[in-house]
């Protein structure tokens, strides 16, 4: 009895035992033994080859490695670890295979960083005037191209005399951000309430303002019909929201809503005709400017559209009843089958014979509508749209925007390239956003809906006050991921012939001065995209913390 207790109290694990050590590290299993063996052989051969190239640095790394092992072993044997040796033991030198892996990775990283450093800094030429082939070397980068081609990279083929408008737009955004951040500070929040209202309103109007700066107001005559139609629409939406008790009726807000649009439209067309901001050719947009325009337009437009699609896909409105759908569908089919005999007569092969029975498609559509969606056209249309978009690659949609749009528009209408691309891309992004938002909607517990019902909320109120605030908060992380994806994938517009940040590189390297300096440009672009995406994701992480996501 006493013997066994003393045995347990003795630090058994601390006493070094070769057998246990070998079993833990090498002979535990066949797999482990082979892994350690291969790793050792590979590391030794790699270390030897690097020792031939750079004896000094390899020697220093090997020395450091040996010292680290020595520290850990001494700590283990003396049962006394310093902070460093404990960290080393836990993270780098925990077992034989880890120890060897550590050496291998340090060697690989050190030499990769060294060769990148040699190429990018030591042997590189930073002079923007020395980019022609006679100044270039094989082992160094020619970074001068970045500074030299800065105008192309930033604004593309835009006329130099229009650059001031880009600067104004940039300044406007900067000022707005500063104002937002200042007025959003907790200490100043109460004092600057009026400023916040102004800032928020200007943000709402910022697409129009930026359009004015970057594209110029169209020099169209004052279109009173358009103005009135839009005015009626705005008022109708306002009254609908008031009727459904989503907004409260205040005379002040009603007057602002009623007079805001005519006022803005008048200002807009006045500026347009005053030639203060003359319209510029949108096709000349390029470089980072175009990338930013496309990315932000897509991000801003795809969110509401995605929300509509998500709500549509989940909508539970009362579907079209069977007694309307079937008579209409059967009637249409009978009408369609009158064409079948002619088609059958002229058919040449099996596929055409089958296609002669196209009215069956009407039956199929009606059947799916009634069977899968219970006659709910809203859900059916949203689902079809989302699933179609998600199953095709983005570049086919962009291609559709560029090449097919002219076919589908009225003859003779020309649209500058960025617009169809933005539309196609927005459709694409909104389908993905819709699925994310739908996930958020599904995550709302059913009790919330029931609680809203029991409080007597109507459908719109339920969405506005109960469901959407919670759902949108949940989807922030994935939706920001989607935004980052939209920002990155905007590079695909270069494939359909737009000169965005990536596409402009073709123009730059075709220039005699910078002929073929691809690698430098691509590295620069990768860095810019990396920084952009990284900033967005870190901002989203801050937003999550601020909204207390995952704490409830």
């Amino acid at each position: 009895m006493t013997e066994s207790i003393t045995q347990i109290q003795e630090p058994v694990g601390k006493r070094f035992n070769w057998e246990i050590f070998l079993q833990d590290n090498i002979t535990g299993s066949w797999f482990q033994a082979i892994w350690v063996l291969l790793l050792t052989i590979f590391t030794i051969s790699y270390a030897i080859s690097q020792f031939d190239n750079l004896p000094l640095s390899t020697g220093i790394i090997l020395g450091g490695w040996v010292i680290g092992i020595f520290m850990v072993v001494r700590g283990e044997l003396s049962l006394k670890h310093s902070r460093l040796s404990r960290w080393l033991k836990n993270n780098l030198i925990s077992s034989i295979s880890n120890t060897i892996l550590t050496l291998l990775i340090i060697l690989v990283i050190a030499f990769s960083i060294n060769s990148i450093w040699q190429w990018a800094v030591v042997n590189a030429n930073f002079n923007p005037l020395e980019t022609t082939p006679e100044f270039r070397t094989e082992e160094g980068a020619t970074w001068g191209v970045i500074f030299g081609a800065r105008k192309l990279l930033m604004t593309g083929l835009m006329a130099p005399e229009d650059s001031w408008r880009v600067w104004i737009a940039l300044g406007f955004i900067l000022v707005m951000w500063v104002l937002t951040l200042v007025s959003g500070r907790p200490k100043l929040k109460e004092k600057l309430k009026a400023l916040r209202t102004v800032v928020n309103t200007v943000w709402l109007l910022s697409p129009a303002i930026l359009y004015l700066f970057l594209a110029g107001a169209p020099n169209n005559p004052y279109n009173i019909k358009l103005m009135l139609i839009a005015e009626v629409g705005i008022l109708a939406i306002y009254l609908l929201l008031w009727w459904q008790k989503v907004v409260q009726f205040y005379w002040r807000s009603f007057i602002i809503t009623a007079l805001g649009w005519p006022l803005l439209y008048t200002i807009w067309s006045t500026i347009g005709t005053s030639e203060f901001f003359p319209p510029i050719n949108v096709d000349t947009w390029g470089g980072l400017l175009l990338t930013m325009i496309i990315a932000s337009a897509v991000i801003v437009l795809s969110l509401p559209l995605g929300m509509v699609l998500a709500l549509g896909r989940r909508s539970e409105v009362y579907g079209i009843p069977d007694w309307i759908v079937w008579p209409v569908a059967v009637g249409a089919m009978i009408w369609g089958f009158t064409t079948t005999p002619v088609l059958l007569e002229t058919s040449r092969n099996l596929i055409e014979r089958l296609l002669a029975f196209w009215p069956l498609l009407i039956f199929g559509v009606a059947y799916i509508l009634q069977r899968a969606f219970k006659g709910n056209v809203v859900a059916g249309a949203s689902t079809t749209f989302i699933e179609f978009i998600r199953s095709v690659p983005l570049i086919t949609l962009l291609f559709m925007g560029i090449v097919m749009a002219p076919f589908f528009l009225a003859p003779g209408v020309y649209t500058p390239k960025p617009w169809p691309v933005i539309i196609g891309y927005t459709l694409f992004a909104s389908a993905y956003s819709a699925e994310i938002i739908r996930g958020g909607l599904q995550a709302i517990p059913h009790g919330q809906f029931e609680a809203a019902d029991s409080l007597g909320f109507n459908g719109l109120q339920k969405m506005r006050f109960i469901v959407l605030p919670q759902a949108l908060r949940i989807v922030i992380p994935p939706i920001v991921g989607q935004f980052i994806g939209a920002f990155k994938s905007s590079s695909l517009v270069s494939i359909v012939g737009l000169f965005d940040f990536v596409g402009i590189s073709k123009v730059v390297i075709a220039n005699n001065e910078w002929l073929g300096l691809r690698t430098e440009l691509y590295v620069f672009m990768a860095v810019v995209y990396f920084l952009g995406s990284f900033l967005m994701s870190s901002y989203s992480r801050r937003l999550e913390v601020r909204l207390g996501l995952g704490e409830r």
Binding site: N91, L92, V377, P393, I495, Y529
Partner: protein, 542 residues
């Protein structure tokens, strides 16, 4: 029926007719249905406008869009042009294609390239993703940080930039073919012309070996089941995996040697005067000519003497005889020189005029060719042993690589970029999946005395896979769609081929519809797999 009508409704139905009508109309359900019908009508009107615009535009562009083979105009002839000659070359083809083939064949070539890339990409990406995902969870700080930076780099830069960077900055910047990189001395050549890999060739004796292999697999299955039954019955444990694999290997190797011994289809035509009666005599023959005593001394000779002593042999282009013969010659360390010809009679002519000292091919060809020779009795056919599988190794000859399989630089770059990019996403999925299995599960498995392998195989992985597989299939679908980015570096996938066809024929809509159909089919296949898996995973649930 009357009891079901609520008092509210009854109240509404009172009063003048217009009030009844209004209360009917302002029912949310009625409004909703009217709105939906309106929506359908709107869609039909928009579709009609677009269709009208399209037919107007199409007729403005000339009716060539829908011209039939007999010269008439009809919408049903939209795809007739696909039967006409394509007129463009495609660099990478899996099936036979020349530029006089119809557009349909070109489209098929593109489609096959897309599928090949997608399949290979999916396989390799899964591998890289799993490795990187496990590396993210490694207890080695450096490994996990390295994996983290790999994932971050992949996630935060556009795929397009990665593709063009890898193509122009990495693959095309590789050394020329002469200084190709050979990783660890293996017969793998990485150069600016792409990747040259060894290729496995099934020879004529492979069928015997495959028969043995099938036998072995049946035997493995029988052994597995019977041992399993015995284990269930008696509780007597047996190492089924090891026993099964050992027996399979034994059967397979018996099959291998039988097939090699039995095979008698390969032969070599030599002159009687050369005194070569079987492949082993080639050593003596070479020693005699090089005037050395041992075969190892040949390597020490000067370059010219080696090439003078080299065994000159004719083979047919793309035949397995070459790979088989060179395997024997390499084994015997005999220097050799291969002459390739397109047709047997060319090889025979070369053999007759002495350019080649031997002609290696299948025996039936050789017998026919020997009959055409003038000096019939002066030539004999000797047998060459043939193993069921032969490696065809890439060898540099002149300015080109011969043998093995070639992977073009565009394909190499695209595959590398796709695999690296999606490997990063899959690494995160794998990590999240493994982390989703609660710690208690592993602890319980250890407490039950399961080994680490059993713990992973029986407890952790089945639970992790349920979390991993649905997003994984989503990534596979994205990868298949992103193969279209190969267009940026000129890889002839379906999108690129369709684009060229569109440019040449002007039929935009037709090809667009075709492309969409293919991509949607791919997508439906993937979502079918996903639904099937979800159903299965659901059944496993309690």
């Amino acid at each position: 029926m009357k009891q079901e009508v609520s008092p509210q409704l009854q109240e509404d139905q009172k009063g003048p007719w217009w009030r009844v009508f209004l209360s009917f109309i302002f029912d949310v359900r009625v409004l909703g249905v009217l709105g939906q019908i309106g929506f359908i009508l709107l869609v039909i009107i928009i579709a009609q406008t677009i269709g009208g615009n399209f037919s107007e535009n199409a007729s403005r562009l000339g009716e060539s869009q829908f011209i039939c083979r007999d010269g008439t105009f009809s919408y049903r002839c939209a795809y007739d042009f696909m039967d006409s000659e394509s007129g463009f070359d495609i660099a990478e083809t899996m099936i036979d294609y020349v530029n006089t083939d119809p557009y349909w064949t070109a489209f098929k070539v593109g489609l096959l390239n897309t599928l090949k890339l997608a399949l290979l990409g999916v396989t390799l990406t899964t591998l890289i993703g799993i490795i990187a995902g496990i590396a993210r969870l490694s207890d080695n700080w450096l490994v996990s940080k390295l994996a983290l930076w790999y994932v971050e780099l992949m996630r935060n830069t556009p795929l397009l930039i990665q593709i063009v960077f890898i193509y122009f900055g990495v693959v095309l910047a590789l050394p020329a073919l002469k200084e190709a990189i050979q990783p660890m001395g293996l017969p793998i050549f990485l150069s600016e012309r792409g990747l040259n890999l060894p290729k496995l060739i099934f020879t004529s004796s492979a069928s015997i070996w495959i028969a043995f292999l099938i036998l072995g697999i049946i035997q493995f299955q029988v052994l597995w089941t019977s041992l399993g039954r015995r284990e269930e019955r008696t509780g007597q444990a047996s190492n089924r995996v090891a026993l099964g694999i050992i027996s399979l290997v034994i059967v397979a190797s018996i099959g291998w040697f039988t097939a090699s011994a039995v095979s008698d289809t390969q032969g070599m035509l030599v002159t009687k005067g050369s005194r070569i009666l079987d492949v082993g005599d080639l050593v003596k023959f070479t020693l005699r000519r090089a005037k050395v005593n041992h075969i190892d001394d040949i390597a020490a000779l000067p370059e010219e003497e080696i090439s003078a002593a080299a065994f000159q042999v004719c083979v047919l282009e793309d035949s397995s005889s070459e790979a088989n013969l060179t395997r024997h010659l390499r084994g015997l360390k005999i220097p050799y020189n291969i002459h390739r010809t397109d047709r047997p009679d060319q090889a025979t002519a070369k053999f007759a005029d002495g350019t080649c000292e031997a002609f290696a091919a299948s025996k039936s060809i050789l017998a026919a060719e020997r009959a055409t020779l003038e000096n019939l009795t002066g030539n004999i056919i000797i047998s060459i042993k043939e193993s069921p599988l032969v490696w065809s190794l890439p060898v540099l000859e002149g300015l080109n690589m011969v043998g093995g399989s070639k992977v073009r630089p565009e394909f190499t770059a695209l595959l590398m970029a796709l695999v690296l990019f999606y490997g990063g996403s899959i690494a995160e999925i794998v990590r999240a999946g493994i982390l989703s299995v609660s710690k208690g599960q592993s602890e319980a498995a250890r407490a039950l005395g399961l080994s680490e392998g059993q713990r992973l195989q029986l407890v952790v992985m089945p639970q992790a896979l349920r979390v991993i597989i649905p997003p994984l299939i989503g990534e596979f679908l994205s990868l298949s769609k992103d193969t279209s980015l190969g267009f940026a570096i000129g890889f002839p996938d379906m999108y690129a081929v369709s684009y060229t066809t569109m440019n040449q024929s002007g039929r935009v809509l037709q090809l667009f519809v075709l492309m969409m159909l293919v991509y949607m089919t791919i997508s439906i296949v993937f979502s079918g797999v996903l639904n099937w898996y979800n159903e299965r995973a659901k059944l496993v649930e309690r």
